[in-house]
Symmetry: C2
Subunit: 338 residues, 2 copies
Amino acid sequence: MGGDLAPKMVVRGANIARKRHPDVKFLFYGVEDQIKPLLDKHKTLRSISEIRPAETVITADEKPSQALRGGRKSSMRLAIDAVSGGEAVCAVSAGNTGALMAMAKFVLKTMPGIDRPAIASFFPTLRGESVMLDLGANIQCDAQNLAQFAIMGDVFARTVLGTVRPSVGLLNVGSEDLKGSDTLREAASILREASLINFHGFIEGDDIAGGTVDVVVTDGFSGNIALKTAEGTARLYTEFLRRAFKHSLITQLGYVFARPALNKLKSRVDPRRYNGAMFLGLNGICVKSHGGTDAKGFANAIGVAIDMYGHGFLGKIREELEALQEPQGAVATAAESV
Amino acid sequence: MGGDLAPKMVVRGANIARKRHPDVKFLFYGVEDQIKPLLDKHKTLRSISEIRPAETVITADEKPSQALRGGRKSSMRLAIDAVSGGEAVCAVSAGNTGALMAMAKFVLKTMPGIDRPAIASFFPTLRGESVMLDLGANIQCDAQNLAQFAIMGDVFARTVLGTVRPSVGLLNVGSEDLKGSDTLREAASILREASLINFHGFIEGDDIAGGTVDVVVTDGFSGNIALKTAEGTARLYTEFLRRAFKHSLITQLGYVFARPALNKLKSRVDPRRYNGAMFLGLNGICVKSHGGTDAKGFANAIGVAIDMYGHGFLGKIREELEALQEPQGAVATAAESV
């Protein structure tokens, strides 16, 4: 029921996703009267789906604490309960991010060795794709949180993206060792000493799109600002491009010939392509779709969740975290002693 | 002497700037043997310039404290001394940012009512241009610092950009009043209560390029990350555009016809156009050029400094700050009581 165009775009998104992932089955949580007529339009989807009526719906402006307390029978909560109960392998929602994270954290719980879950997403870069976390779940982070995000990002890049020995960078205002806050310097020294991952060191904002590292680690404040600044800049560039071609008769003629290339670019930078933010560090898979996306974007978010499940991300990260609990595992040991 | 292509691009940049600003005179601080032959190539520039030999040059990797202590006879320091001594109206450098800020702060001193200077720059937006500060001078800021940045940004937009009643936004991870850190919420309440400026409230990363406000206020950490993320994203977009046109014979043919529009876009997003970061809050004008820029970019940085001088920014901001010292000026009074 979440998102600007829900539940229509959710049902349509599922219909796109089921073609890409023929083994998948869907449970739709929400207002039955709204979902049923939509589902009836897609026969095949209908045959692999069940509607689970929910008494309430979490609204976009509800506070996380409010949603937690009052939303026990909401569609959002029931979907997460299904993951926790083993009825579903993942939950995907385009609703209220704060409420979704609070509920997922409360119901699914963080994994042993992880103090706080993080929101992660893919980014296009000059060299391919990178993962960045946290994108807004934790406004303030200590060095241990950042070190744990680094471990999660590393496992994610290896299992889901298939990157061999992914490089991990800490987002800072300079690449020199002395730059930034005490927290960042402490996190860097933990990661350097633990030598569990391929730690690149500090990176700067332009390294995100530059693809300097495979995994960008940052606190939720800076991560959210970087994510949205990048989105805004891409939108600005697209608009400048549009204006440039509208400028005169000559440029408008040029547009006709440039269209094949511009369409290529459009699909390359299509935000729907990167839709689907993953909640990492929980005992279950939960993916947040952009609220303003359409069916195509929502289908991609479903794909992200299915990929995490298919690549066995949860089992893999559990193994890694258990290995870290051994005496030689510096990060987890240090985390426990705090 | 600062910047990758100095001193050549500095002299050439001055030669471009003197055509745009016929009344200006230049003092070149640095290694005479390097500057003289360059200057001799430009007769007119030569006639309005003086070379001031400096014993040393601040290097790019020198720490600010080191530069402060050991750089008393450096070209950078002598240029700032010239502003402080009244011999020059502004200093422009493409050298080490940290060293330049430390020296400028030490020599020029902060204005009464301002605790910390900030680095500000222009940004292209969907609606025109905005100013953002701080871009990296202050990694950690308290609410009073942010409130003072807001005042400086407001005065800057009014005097230098000529914006009538500029709107000022605080960069945060959500636009709701409850979002973000205590510091941000406190800064917002100071600005709301003081009602000295047209305070818009919180904005998010995508509002920067969106042009939601005329002045974006943030701490130096987030500001630096936003600035560099935007730069990196623009570079990525440019590269994707280039690749799209290179893709096939058809797209390559399209490029020929699209060139007028693409050239328009190129000039619109040219980073040289926005070169020149201003140090605000000091008793003197100091502008930092990007180290990697060329003559055209350096000429723009000189133009920024001349504009600040021409619009009487220093006098105007001094007046505003004095008015704030009056009992009804909540920001300055609160700042004094801290």
